[in-house]
């Protein structure tokens, strides 16, 4: 009798055990199964901008690449790019929001303002009769060419880029520039107790790290002409200032306008030496919008002659000294 009992019991036990073990086999095994994680392919990093194609063109020192001859900014021809913009009701512009004095967001008002921005307000005034028809797109230095490059449908992300952009022949291969609206020069910012007054002297000190934003003429020149210092790149100029304040770099090189803005934000920094390069700033526009470039050149010409340029200079860049004569336009393209 007990033999039967034990046998049935045994069968029962085995059945129970096999059952539970089978259940376990069905339930998810690993932690990532429990979390419901699906193996995702690592997203391919899209580079912020294609590296500038190796250009064979040569910039002649002291000479600015010519632009298209101007047209009158007083009227807008039918069927022109300007008319399309006016019909859209807004001028889309690519700007910096962290380059003090040129294009920076005032944290108190939230407004983006600066020399670059005021030039754009003048263009807005010429197209719309209203200086405030601007739609800002904040971009990094590396995005400047990308936002002006037409996509598959032939549209660009912005109409004009005003972001401390140097006119050079390599950039002329992908976009178009206005005439020079500001003549900057490359300088160096160092700690206020530093004795170095130029990049050459920094090279002499040895083991110095110098920061410049990625995809800029500044960084290229730093790497090519000053191999004695270690070039460090950052996404924007302002991130260079962060690295400088954190002691991760010893100096920043950049255009005097930008560095002046930095010195204004950091009492322990100073801009030293003479400008060792010419950085003619131009407004960038899509290569195929020749009429817009001509129109903008007309606006710039008027600003030079009626005193607007000088008053803007005094307003934003007076810290650099008395306003010089506006840069002369170069035409002939």
């Amino acid at each position: 009798m007990s033999a039967i009992r034990s046998r049935t019991a045994r069968i029962g036990l085995i059945a129970a055990l096999v059952g539970t073990l089978a259940l376990t086999a069905c339930s998810p095994r690993s932690g990532s199964d429990d979390l419901g994680l699906t193996p995702t392919p690592t997203p391919t990093e899209t580079t912020p901008s294609a590296p500038a194609p190796a250009s064979t063109c040569e910039n002649v020192p002291g000479e600015v690449q010519p632009s298209y001859s101007p047209i009158s900014p007083d009227s807008i021809p039918a069927g022109s790019t300007m008319e399309t913009i006016r019909n859209n009701g807004v001028l889309r512009v690519g700007v910096s929001a962290d380059t003090l004095l040129m294009g920076a967001r005032d944290p108190l008002t939230g407004q983006i303002e600066g020399f670059d921005i005021d030039v754009l307000h003048e263009i807005s005034r010429a197209i719309f009769g209203d200086p405030n028809k601007l739609q800002f797109k904040v971009i990094t230095s590396a995005q400047r060419l990308e936002v002006l490059t037409p996509d598959a449908a032939g549209n660009t992300q912005v109409d004009i880029v005003a972001r401390t952009m140097t006119i050079n022949c390599a950039r002329w291969e992908t976009i178009a520039f206005s005439t020079e609206y500001y003549g900057a020069g490359q300088k160096v910012l160092v700690a206020s107790d530093s004795e170095a007054t130029s990049l050459r002297e920094l090279e002499g000190l040895g083991d110095q790290k110098v920061c410049a934003p990625a995809s800029t003429t500044t960084l290229t020149r730093l790497e090519d002409e000053f191999p004695g210092v270690e070039a460090v790149s950052a996404a924007t100029h302002t991130e260079c200032l962060v690295l400088f304040q954190q002691g991760k770099v010893d100096a920043i090189t950049g255009d005097d306008t930008i560095l002046a803005g930095f010195a204004a934000q950091d009492p322990y920094a100073k801009v030293v030496g003479d400008a060792f390069s010419d950085e003619p700033y131009g407004l960038g526009m899509p290569a195929d919008k020749v009429d817009l470039v001509q129109f903008v050149n007309g606006v710039l010409d008027r600003m030079r002659s009626d005193g607007t340029w000088t008053s803007l200079y005094d307003k934003w860049l007076g810290v650099l000294g008395p306003a010089p004569a506006p840069p002369a336009p170069v035409y002939g393209r």
């Binding site: 055990l17 539970t20 932690g31 429990d34 944290p107 739609q135 904040v138 302002t238 934000q265």
Partner: protein, 446 residues
């Protein structure tokens, strides 16, 4: 098992074939009479010697029953306790992650407001950081794996808060460099701290999974206990038949007690294992689903502020927002799952998604100021208010289903542990009883 239990027998004449011991019962019904030719060894062993062997076998079987049963109970109790603790740890790590993402979102949102950030937002940021750092300390103390990552995360949080303070100080003075500090802080959080926390979550989930499986694997010990039980019953039957006495009280009591406890054990231990499997597929899975949905939702909310800060360059971030939103919605949808997530939670999230859409539409249409106004509003019905109510509901649900998991596991574990002790006591008692029972028969040969 029975062969190893019989290995150290008292003095035994000649070699005896152990394998035959278990094959014997069928033949043993006719005492010694069956002339089974292939087993001549049987005849050479005297009955007292066999009894001595059975004495050892029954005592060892009883002890094995007790020890193996105890082992089942304690290892199952340990496994459920580990699973329960690890589940809590996992939720804790995810909530630290959510706190940090939230703090980052608030800091970014405050930056949108302007130089002087609203006091209540500042307080919210402080509370989120406070929560995160306090939980990190507790989590590090409770950490079973002894990961040093917590120390690393703690120090990164310190660096992060430092950078945010610098961003604030600069922002307050109207210096644009504040924005760069903010983005450096965010980059540290997103590129280093959060991935480390995610790795910890995964490691914790793996350990929990191991513990969940271990609750079932511990049943292997129960099989050993049951084999010992069968051995004892066989000894009892053999002696009963050999001695022509139906009742050997001590042996009978031992066998019946072990059988009763054994059946109880099978029922209880498989119940505990079943409860663990059930919890894993229901409340635990639900907790993880909501917790992960909440993480994705917080991320989407945080990215919203950054799409606005980028001002016009936020499209790539908006794609990430949409990925996070889709992930959260998928996890909140319990259709076809073993658990049920209330529709309210999903609807709550969806209404935030609508608010987010409004903000994006404004920004995309070029009305950045309008978009910012919507994004920073704290009015009832604003994006922030809607998200807050979703966030509260989600946290409540996480807490309740997490408590359900722990109840299921802890209850089963306590029962398993208790039964383990019962096994041990029964085994020891049965060992004494079997000794006594077999000794009674043995005495008859003196």
């Amino acid at each position: 098992m029975s062969t190893t239990a019989a290995a150290p027998p008292p003095p035994v004449p000649q070699a005896f074939p152990q394998a035959n011991a278990s094959a014997q019962p069928a033949n043993a019904v006719q005492p010694q009479a069956a002339p089974s030719a292939p087993a001549p060894a049987k005849k050479t062993r005297s009955t007292p010697a066999t009894l001595r062997l059975l004495l050892a076998l029954s005592v060892l079987a009883s002890l094995a029953f007790g020890v193996a049963g105890f082992q089942t109970g304690s290892s199952q109790a340990r496994a459920t306790a580990d699973a329960s603790a690890e589940a809590a740890q996992l939720i804790g790590i995810q909530s630290v992650r959510n706190d940090l993402v939230r703090a980052d979102a608030i800091a970014a949102n405050a930056f949108l407001v302007g130089g002087l950030e609203p006091a209540d937002q500042r307080a919210e940021y402080d509370a989120a950081i406070d929560d995160a750092t306090q939980s990190l300390t507790t989590l590090a103390a409770d950490d079973k794996a002894g990961d040093t990552d917590f120390a690393q995360i703690n120090s990164e949080v310190a660096i992060y808060t430092g950078l945010i303070e610098q961003a604030r100080a600069n922002n307050r003075q109207g210096f644009p460099v504040g924005a760069a500090y903010l983005s450096q802080a965010s980059a540290l959080l997103n590129d280093s701290t959060l991935p480390q926390l995610e790795a910890l979550v995964l490691a914790s989930a793996d350990r929990a999974a191991g513990s969940f499986t271990a609750t079932t694997v511990s049943l292997v010990w129960l099989v050993i206990a049951l084999v010992a039980l069968v051995a004892l019953i066989w000894v009892h039957l053999w002696i009963t038949r050999r001695s022509h006495r139906y009742l050997n009280w001590p042996l009978l009591i031992a066998a019946v007690a072990m059988l009763a406890v054994g059946i109880l054990g099978v029922v209880t231990f498989s119940n505990t294992a079943g409860a663990a499997i059930e919890a894993r597929q229901n409340s635990y899975a639900k907790t993880l689903a909501i917790s992960q949905a909440y993480t994705s939702a917080t991320e989407a909310k945080s990215l919203e502020s950054f799409t606005l800060i980028k001002r016009g360059s936020g499209q790539t971030l908006e794609a990430q927002v949409q990925t996070a939103v889709a992930d959260a919605q998928a996890r909140l949808d319990s259709t076809g799952k073993n658990y049920l997530i209330s529709d309210d939670l999903g609807n709550g999230f969806d209404s935030w998604v609508e608010k987010h859409q409004e903000i994006r539409e404004k920004d995309d249409a070029g009305d950045w100021d309008g978009a910012v106004e919507l994004a920073i509003s704290q009015d009832p019905g604003s994006a922030n208010a809607v998200f807050d109510s979703f966030s509260e509901a989600a946290q409540d649900d996480i807490e309740s289903s997490s408590a359900a998991t722990q109840n299921a596991l802890d209850g089963g574990g306590a029962l398993a542990s208790l039964l383990g002790w019962i096994f041990l006591v029964t085994g020891l008692a049965a060992a004494v009883l079997s000794w006594r029972g077999v000794s009674l028969r043995l005495k008859e040969y003196r």
